[in-house]
Amino acid sequence: MISPEVRRWIVSFGVAAILWEAVAWYLDNKLFLVRLGAIGERFVELIQSGELISDIQVSFIEFAGGFGLAIIIGIGFGVLMAASRRVRDLFDPWVSMLYATPTIALGPLFMLAFGIGYTSKIALVFLTAVFPILINTLAGLKTTDRNLLEVVRSFGATPRQIYFKVRIPGALPFIIAGLRVSVARALVGVVVAELFGARAGLGFLIFRSAQSFDTAGLFVAVFILAICGVVCVELLKWIEIRLAPWRFNNIEED
């Protein structure tokens, strides 16, 4: 038995694949759109040569490093800013400004500063991913329901107990939502960072393939990135629903 949702996905992708094949056959332009079969063949080749494995490895390390750092620093700084008025006043303008800046534009600068290796990539991924996490952590900790605060206060809760029993659990769903936004940004960060200069990685595979007119190779990288993005976002959505089912109770889809 397959669920209706899975069936919808299959139908949707099936239709898209047929359209893809039809357009590729009609255009007959191997630089713009290659047949899906060709992409599959290229995928197998890249696996066999070992290239793809090392590209995935490199990109994964950059992603995990940058995103992991963004989680630690984003949550840590969010907690600090929520706890201290002074820290908040000091950093608020910077956070707002940097959040609005397309920090990806700093990529070339990071290459110059940290070289072509992991450090510059991790720094760029971190910078693109950290702000949604930080801002959501701060917002989650600051928008605690007054009624809940009053309830635990009425039982004599200490500020510490209020923090751990109400503010943090209340902020968790916000933080997960922040991670969901950040994950997509971090993936973009990985690709763009590698476009500015790299020795390996999925972004670099895109660059390499484009240079040698290997459209099939380019699509291999794009598809892998797309799948990673979807899996991460869906996973976080799943965690969010598990963690805070009451927030989804009144939402009706039509």
């Binding site: 009624n147 039982f155 004599g156 029993k165 659990p169 009451w246």
Partner: protein, 271 residues
């Protein structure tokens, strides 16, 4: 007469708002005996919630004091439990974990608290719902958890702020009879705020009528109806007389409150 369980001495409260001082309560002297059920009625905005928050120690008085067993209340503690108008259940905790939060905060034995919580959940008719989450319950059920939570805290004094206001009329009547039963079984001292006069008469030994802001005690009415009370009592002539009397006391206050509200709304609109 014995020393009162709960008392206030010249209790006053003003709030500062945008540099303006609003006097909310003025010179309240109230005594509540141990085991007594006292209701407060008054126009909306007259300071009823503020009064309960002062007695609980959630906010500090501008002058005067509130006392439990002759000791001044300075901060919330384990001798008073508050039943709020909004149920205030933590959405990430199931029913039993919500119910034991008082003892948990006060660092008491959690095993005992759980047993106590189960028995009170049973008392309010929620046996079998221990593992449910608040969003899986109806408004009436959540309000009963709210009540069980306050009872589990083990305080001798219960402050209740319009706990049934959000419920539909039928559920409210059932909850009223449940509350009188629980009160008579546990011997708590209760201070109960409501805007429903018949609810106040049905539940109380005494009804305090507050004036408009600044809230003062306008009159107290002793309700000398026999106990235990059944819902049928509400249709008796004696009951009607009490309701009429309190309504006449409060009518003028409510009119004044409505007049002020309109005036303030007009002022705000003009700005």
């Amino acid at each position: 007469m014995n020393a009162p369980k709960l008392s206030t001495r010249d209790l006053c409260k003003s709030f500062q708002k945008d540099g303006v001082s609003i006097e909310v309560l003025r010179g309240l002297n109230i005594n509540v005996a141990k085991g007594e059920f006292v209701s407060i009625v008054g126009a909306s905005g007259c300071g009823k919630t503020t009064f309960l928050r002062l007695v609980n120690g959630l906010i500090r008085s501008s002058s005067g004091s509130a006392m439990i067993d002759g000791r001044e209340v300075t901060a919330p503690g384990s001798d008073i439990a508050f039943v709020f108008q909004q149920d205030g259940l933590l959405p990430w905790r199931n029913v039993i974990d919500n119910t034991i939060i008082g003892p948990e905060i006060q660092g008491r034995n959690l095993g005992e608290a759980r047993d106590l919580a189960s028995s009170f959940l049973n008392l309010v008719g929620l046996r079998g719902f221990e593992k449910h989450y608040p969003h899986e319950l109806s408004g009436g059920m959540r309000q009963r958890v709210n009540m069980a939570r306050a009872l589990t805290a083990g305080a001798e004094v219960l402050l209740m702020d319009e706990p049934f206001a959000a419920l539909d009329a039928q559920t409210r009547e059932i909850m009223q009879t449940e509350l009188t039963r629980i009160w008579s079984e546990t011997g708590k001292t209760v201070l109960f705020v409501t805007h429903q006069i018949d609810e106040a008469v049905f539940l109380s030994d005494r009804v305090l009528v507050f004036t408009v802001r600044p809230g003062r005690l306008k009159e107290e009415v002793f309700v000398k109806l026999p106990r235990p009370r059944e819902l049928a009592l509400k249709r008796s002539p004696e009951f009607g007389l009490y309701v009429d009397r309190i309504w006449r006391l409060i009518e003028e206050e409510v009119r004044e409150s409505i007049r002020r509200e309109t005036e303030e709304a007009l002022l705000a609109a003009r700005r």
